[in-house]
Symmetry: C2
Subunit: 214 residues, 2 copies
């Protein structure tokens, strides 16, 4: 029993190490440019197939990294959704969409890699779908998207989807640039992730509520 | 003299072929993942140093690709700036910012690579700066940014810059996704580059004119 616990702890530590290493390498170099073998090596695994053994395919590994963060993000969503419940002010729902991720990113310390990891996924249509699916299965995310849709019921469906794509792209890209600036010590106009998110939320409220040319 | 003309034509054809090959390869795989040697080979050059011989470094090559398109884009800017001259409606200047590029992309046929080439550059801070510098030296682009700034004079400078970053990111990303969808035959909500740009312009007007939280 004792031996089994120690072994489980060791396996968990290895898995954590592989996840952290892969997140950093994907963020720095892109998901397609890094092989499972290179990740195994960089994580100091004697066995070059360690990633495959612990996680499976690269898609499985990407999903595992996304999941590692999603629990904490979902907790924060819960709080904000409780505060927004019943609101018909689109800003309240955009806050629910942005702050859980930016609060979490701010909590990761410097340097963090999550925002740049997410941005790299955007370049790959199939992996992007994996992560979007992953977040759409979150019960809180469903509530947020429903709340948002209700506030935007006057928009034609295709415009709502189009602006959803624009918003997602801008959130992912701005977070990645902010994370990179902080990591590299480049001066930023916004002192904190919280203030950076405020600027993002302001802009997205405008983007989503703008008049539509027919 | 005759021989010299033929040689010049052959050199120009080689340069054009290298530019088109590099644009496609950068768009598909990322600027950092493709070497000058690979481009020379893919362009069917017996000499693996052809890229270096004709263009110099990779940064020089990226700049040459950007320049190849910039003349036509600048022509279209001229027309739209003439129409916007003196306007204090932010939309007129956003039209000047978006349509010259999207009109040009629409003129390239299917598949085109320019939008995805631009999106790949966004991932690399140093190459991104090269292309931004390149477009900032365009006299029409200066006029457009001045016109835009005048319409947005009430925004604090740092918010204006922040929204400029958001807008650039969304333009680049949405064009790349539209280009990919068209190239792969995926259904799109917008039937043409012109209509796609209209949706983009609508959203950007909202983004840039949104109220600012202090």
């Amino acid at each position: 029993m004792m031996a089994k616990t120690v072994r489980t702890q060791r396996v968990n530590a290895t898995r954590e190490l592989i996840l952290a290493t892969a997140e950093r390498m994907f963020a720095e170099r892109g998901v397609h440019e890094v092989s499972n073998r290179q990740i195994s090596e960089a994580a100091g695994q004697g066995n070059n197939t360690a990633v495959g053994y612990h996680f499976g395919t690269k898609t499985d590994l990407v999903r595992a990294i996304a999941r590692k963060h999603s629990e904490q993000i979902e907790e924060r969503r819960k709080e904000l959704v409780a505060a927004a419940e019943g609101s018909t002010d689109v800003r309240d729902w955009i806050v629910c969409l942005v702050r859980p991720a930016t609060d979490h990113m701010g909590s990761l310390g410097v340097p963090s890699w999550l925002a740049r990891f997410n941005a790299q996924l955007m370049n790959d249509p199939s992996l992007r779908e994996v992560v979007i699916e992953e977040s759409l299965t979150s019960p809180m995310m469903r509530k947020i998207l429903d709340g948002l849709s209700e506030c935007l019921a006057d928009l034609p469906l295709e415009v709502r989807l189009e602006r959803g794509d624009m918003a997602r792209s801008v959130i992912v890209q701005m977070c990645a640039e902010y994370e990179r600036a902080v990591a590299e010590g480049t001066p930023t106009a916004r002192a904190t992730w919280h203030d950076m998110a405020t600027g993002l939320i302001d802009g997205l409220v405008g983007l989503w509520t703008a008049p539509v040319t027919r």
